[in-house]
Every structure is written in structure tokens, then in C-alpha cells.
Subunit: 186 residues, 2 copies
Amino acid sequence: MSTDTKERIMEAARLTVQDLGYSGLSFRELAKDVGIKSASIHYYFATKGELGSAITSRYTSHFAQYFEELLTQGQDLKTCMARYTDVFANTLRNGNRMCLAGILSAERNELPDDVRSEVVKWGEMNERWIARVLMLDARAKPDETARRARAIFAAVSGAQLIAHSRGDVSVFEEIISAYRVSGLLP
Amino acid sequence: MSTDTKERIMEAARLTVQDLGYSGLSFRELAKDVGIKSASIHYYFATKGELGSAITSRYTSHFAQYFEELLTQGQDLKTCMARYTDVFANTLRNGNRMCLAGILSAERNELPDDVRSEVVKWGEMNERWIARVLMLDARAKPDETARRARAIFAAVSGAQLIAHSRGDVSVFEEIISAYRVSGLLP
DNA sequence: CAACACCTATCTATCGTCAGGTAAAAACTG
DNA sequence: CAGTTTTTACCTGACGATAGATAGGTGTTG
């Protein structure tokens, strides 16, 4: 018995959206990737929105778990943030792909409501986690931390967007190091 | 004689792309906006790529001129950067639209080559101008300025992306002010 | 009369979606 | 345990809508 078909659909769909966006995801192409017929996708996901929402929710859960592990392993502040930006860098390295929620953010105005809200959840999860990481520094002021966390999330997302537009991961790395020099990133 | 049709096509196309992206731009809908038939658009722009490239090039020229004026008017560093971020904020205020090149950046992997290169030109223009602005500070180190300019450009683009995904301009403003606190923005 | 600024009508391709079919596996019944 | 029914996991084939593009026509303007 091969890997669950539903899993394979979600995996292929995620990779396509990260590459071509939600609008670039077609049931027929997706079916070819998976090796089934397009109608069969509807057996698992009634609508495209349902599929989009499912892969985004899964994406958030996956990284929430990975980020959580970094903290439970007792990694320090700088290491946590380095691993964090690595996630975005590695996405670019994999076929110049974007963060799933990043590319969906740009497409926001043409997304179904349920996909939209999953994109927001990704952002909230990222901001919460970064805030916790920032609090590893005993000198951090709790009332400024949330704002700074959101700024870091936005800045890293922007670095990925610009590097993606150039098709060059080294642009991402350069921007991240400039964030460190400026003091935005620890 | 009403405003030049070609201008009206470009204006409407730009607004649609800033709203729905390049993939969300259709000749038929665009024709309706302008009040002509879709085939007539091909009279002015042979292909969709040609239209996309034209509006992006024009977008860059337009803001290059505006930014240039800020400098020739002798505005100081802080004012220049405030006017700069205002451009992105106002775009969001206008129907939660994104910077034209920002939304095209996300769609990069499915853009025609000529549109792609116009997106890169937008970035280069922004980075060059920000670098000049940073040099208004006599203490600025020339060899670090280019890197910092790129970081600012990316960070502001990211702030817009995240605010756009939330559909809330105040998110943009909050992030920008956090950039100032951190020292990334002057 | 020619250049211009459109138009009608149509082509091929692709889109998400759906009705309905099928073969095999699983569950239920006597 | 055999026989029957139901569910699972797909499939074929098609629907109407929409996409960019194009050939060729029409009316206006200089």
C-alpha cells in the first residue's frame, strides 16, 4: 500500500502553490502530479478552497511543531532566530519557492474566506513564537516584544519576497544579515 | 476627445493587478472597465505580457520621478523616508491594494520574462534611491549603505505584504514604527 | 483613399465542478 | 462460513464559464 493518496494530493498541492500561487494550482495538473484523475481530488476535497485551506492549516501546524521543538530543546535566542530564517531560506532553495502563507498573502484579495483566515493564523503563530523567543533575553521589555515580533515576521517575509523576485537566495541572506546589523534581528 | 484610450487601459490594468495580481487580470474584465471590447486591447498591446511590462515600467518611472522630487526639494532624511513609506500605506488605503511590483514579485514564477525584468528594475530603483537618502546623513558609511537600503526596501515591502494579508493598514503603520524603534528605519 | 481606432465573431485551451459508473474491499446478516 | 449489502476509492465524460489571441470587418478622420 503506497502512501495515502490524500497526503500525496496535499503535498503536491502545497508545492505547486508555493511555486505558482493559489491561482496557479489547477486540479488537472495536480492530478497528473499525483497520478490520478482530477475528478478524484474532489473525493477528498469538495472544493479548491477546501484544499487550499487544508494545506495551509497543515503548513502552520507543521512549523508550529518545529518551532516549538527549538524552544523545548533549549536553544538560545540567536540560534532560534537563525533556524527561523533558515526555514525561509530553504524554501527559496527548493525551486525558488515562497512560504506558502507568504504567496497566499499576496493573493489575499482573490482567496476564499477559509483560506484567508488560515493565512492570518500562520502570521499569528509566527508572531507569538517570535515574541516568546525574544523574551529569552532577560532584558527584553514585555510590552515592546509583540510589536517587535510582528516587525521581524514582516521583515523576514519581505526579504523572502524580494529574494524570490530576483530568483536568488543570496539576496535573502544578505538582507537578513543587514537586519542583524541594524539591530532589528538579534 | 476623452483621455487617451491607451492611458485608460494602462490605468485600469494597473489597478486590477494591484488588487488581484497578474493572474487576476483578464482582457475581458479590463475591457469592461475601460468601456471597450477585449479585442481592442490587443490593438494597443499585442500580448498580456506586453501590457504587464508596460504598466510596470510606467509604475517605476512614475515613482522614480516622485522620489526624485523629494530629494530636489531638499527634504531631510526622516521626511524622505516618511514620504516613502506613505506611498506603500496609501496603496493599501486604496482598496487594500499592493504595490504593483510587490504583488508581481510573489507571482514571479509565472510571469513572462519581460514583466519579470521590470519587477527587478523597480527594486533596483528603490534601492538606489533609499541609498541616496541614507547618505543625507553625514555619518553614514558608504560601503554599508547599499546593503541597508536593500534591507529597508525588503522590510517595507514585507510590512505591506503582511498588512495586505490582514486587510488592515494600521498593521502596516505599526510595523513601520517598530522598524524605527529597532533602528532599521531612520 | 489611406491610416486609425475600434468592432464582431470565433478559435483553441483550460478552468472548477459534477453526475454517474465500476471494481474491489469491508461490513453485515442468516 | 457463505452470501449479501455497503462503503471506499477511484474512474469516464461532460457541463458552462472563462482565458488569451486572431482574422477580418466597419466607420471615422485627415
